[in-house]
Symmetry: C2
Subunit: 338 residues, 2 copies
DNA sequence: GACTCTTGCACAAACGTTTGCAGGGGACGG
DNA sequence: CCGTCCCCTGCAAACGTTTGTGCAAGAGTC
């Protein structure tokens, strides 16, 4: 029922191979024949069969993406970037939600591997070993995860963290809390690393809590611990947790930002519109998705652009209404003698 | 490089066709041979080539989904349901963001059509005519859009709207505003229809505003209009708009819920966690996605279950903190004489 | 006018599967 | 002991493309 290359060939009075060439390597056929073929193809509404094509070429024209949690708007942001960039190059996108589960992630990539030219894994939970195994199966590009010899787009959240520390320091904060995200997460390690470096430089003490689930509920749970820690500011692994913290602080009657400053990470839409608007670090989600696809396609199509297999994306502090001068209710504002 | 069915055949000392049968129609081969084949396949890590398979069978094992706006958590909820259900039946999922653009939607479905067994279109912006054309190209299942002879999962938002009206009426509201979403949207029409019916029955007057963009910004813009309408409650097309309304009301010093009640639609995560928590109607997002895939696969695999081509999903009012007794600052609480 | 070179096209093989058809062999009944 | 039937397996065709190879005709050169 569907129209094949043979139908077009018959209508244009040429052989199927000529049709194929007219449609792809058009310089190999005479102008007049090419026009005839294109006209015939258009009239019949010919669409090449991707299965047949990929069978012979070994390429599919598809890429895959797996994210840890679709409910987190951060990942839908990168999803948008990925899809936009892929579409621009004529690739279709397979998508899957790994649900923060390493074995699900691996299974999903394996399942996709035969029908994609490559997959971008977004902040994967899988182990390095697993990732290497998958990289042997298909081309891989990582987002916010570093692994030798595997191309990756990385958001420089350590730098964002430095900006946060400088901001808080300028506001007089000397003793702050950091609520960790998943312990295995590259992003969390990066943020913590940036925090440590900047904090010791500024002689600021920071107490760690967690790891917590990087979700609203995780923030709610974490808030009480942080509150007991005698700090003047709480830095959260991400915005979702920060929103949870805000909610819990409100419940407990702690005024933000006057009694407690809170800062998040990601700059989700909701960070801008919640009350009070959240001070946070903007992560380039769509740009990250696009960059990952750039790297993937560069590898797949062999169009290395000499920029190497890594892309570093910058992050920026966005000051809103959840940070203010350090609370004076804790007058000396130093770590309590525990 | 990749291992083919011939490799397995050689290792198991059988012909390729036997391997094929052992893997799919296993009752056609003797038990001992089947075991030998399966063992060989496992040892070699054989994975069938989907392109070759789909070339001969005409089926791909893939489905597609296109949504209007990935930034709206409603659709990511649906996406989760779709992917979970698809995976359960061994289907992989192509995904695309139509960006609320009818022509983009159509182009995306056309692009996918050759490599999927069907696609679910989620609250599409495309016209009926366009949808019919696409239904001729591939199997279609709709979510929150009704079109004769095309299977669809529909959320009964008219019923949810009735519950909202009853709730507001009980609180003493007699004059309310409805902020419309996109005029072409089936969901908006349904909600409006439910609203009209319930309101006239209850002798409640409702003034319409919009259409607005179904986003935060749309709500911000709409709030001022509604405020000037002399109403005691604002019903929004969806939660995103409701959040925009809340934000704008706060800016203008209007106390919610005491001076103005606000209700949304969808029950996004943020409706539950914003301040004050939003009264809204819960939409079964994941269930809707699953139901749509059910319908699609029933059509594709010919496993009609006799339940007909439509699924109706129920919706429920969730009362939180943005609705209260009608404001008395507008003492007579009836439509101002315009 | 004969040679070579180029251009434009057709032929056929190949990609990895599935599946209709046929054949071989064993079991069973007569 | 022979015929029939059934179970299992192999052979080969087919799916719709792409692409290497070969051939024919025309253009250019001497």
């Amino acid at each position: 029922m569907p129209v094949t290359i043979h139908d077009v060939a018959r209508r244009a009075q040429v052989s199927p191979s000529t049709v194929s060439r007219a449609l792809s390597a058009s310089h190999l056929v005479r102008g007049t024949t090419r026009d005839r073929v294109l006209a015939a193809a258009k009239e019949l509404g010919y669409q090449p069969n991707p299965a047949a094509r990929s069978l012979i070429t070994g390429r599919t024209g598809n890429i895959g993406i797996v994210v840890p949690d679709l409910n987190n708007p951060f990942y839908t942001g990168v999803l948008r970037g990925v899809q936009a960039r892929a579409r621009q190059s004529g690739y279709a996108v397979f998508f899957a939600d790994g649900e923060e589960d390493p074995v699900a992630e691996e299974a999903l990539v394996r399942a996709m591997s035969r029908q994609v030219d490559g997959v971008v894994m977004c902040a994967p939970f899988a182990s390095d070993t697993q990732l290497r195994a998958l990289a042997g199966l298909t081309s891989l590009a990582l987002l916010n995860r570093r692994l030798r010899d595997v191309p990756a787009a990385l958001m420089d959240s350590a730098s964002g963290m430095r900006q946060v520390v400088d901001h808080l320091y300028a506001l007089g904060h000397r003793h702050v809390a950091y609520l960790n995200g998943p312990g295995s997460s590259w992003s969390n390690r990066e943020r913590r690393r940036g925090l440590r470096a900047a904090a010791t430089r500024a002689r600021m003490t920071v107490v760690d809590f967690g790891p917590f689930e990087p979700k609203f509920e995780g923030g709610v749970a974490a808030a009480d611990l942080a509150l007991a820690g005698g700090v003047t500011a709480i830095m959260c692994y991400n915005d979702l947790m920060a929103l949870g913290v805000l909610s819990r602080l409100a419940d407990r009657g702690v005024a933000v930002p006057h009694e407690m400053s809170v800062v998040g990470f990601d700059n989700l839409l909701y960070a801008a519109v919640c009350a009070p608007p959240l001070t946070t670090v903007a992560m380039p989600m769509e740009a990250g998705g696009r960059a990952a696809v750039d790297l993937l396609l560069a590898g797949v199509e062999g169009t290395e652009d000499g920029a190497g297999p890594y892309r570093e994306l910058t992050t920026n502090l966005i000051v809103r209404a959840t940070t203010a001068a350090a609370s004076t209710s804790n007058p000396d504002n130093h770590p309590p003698a525990v």
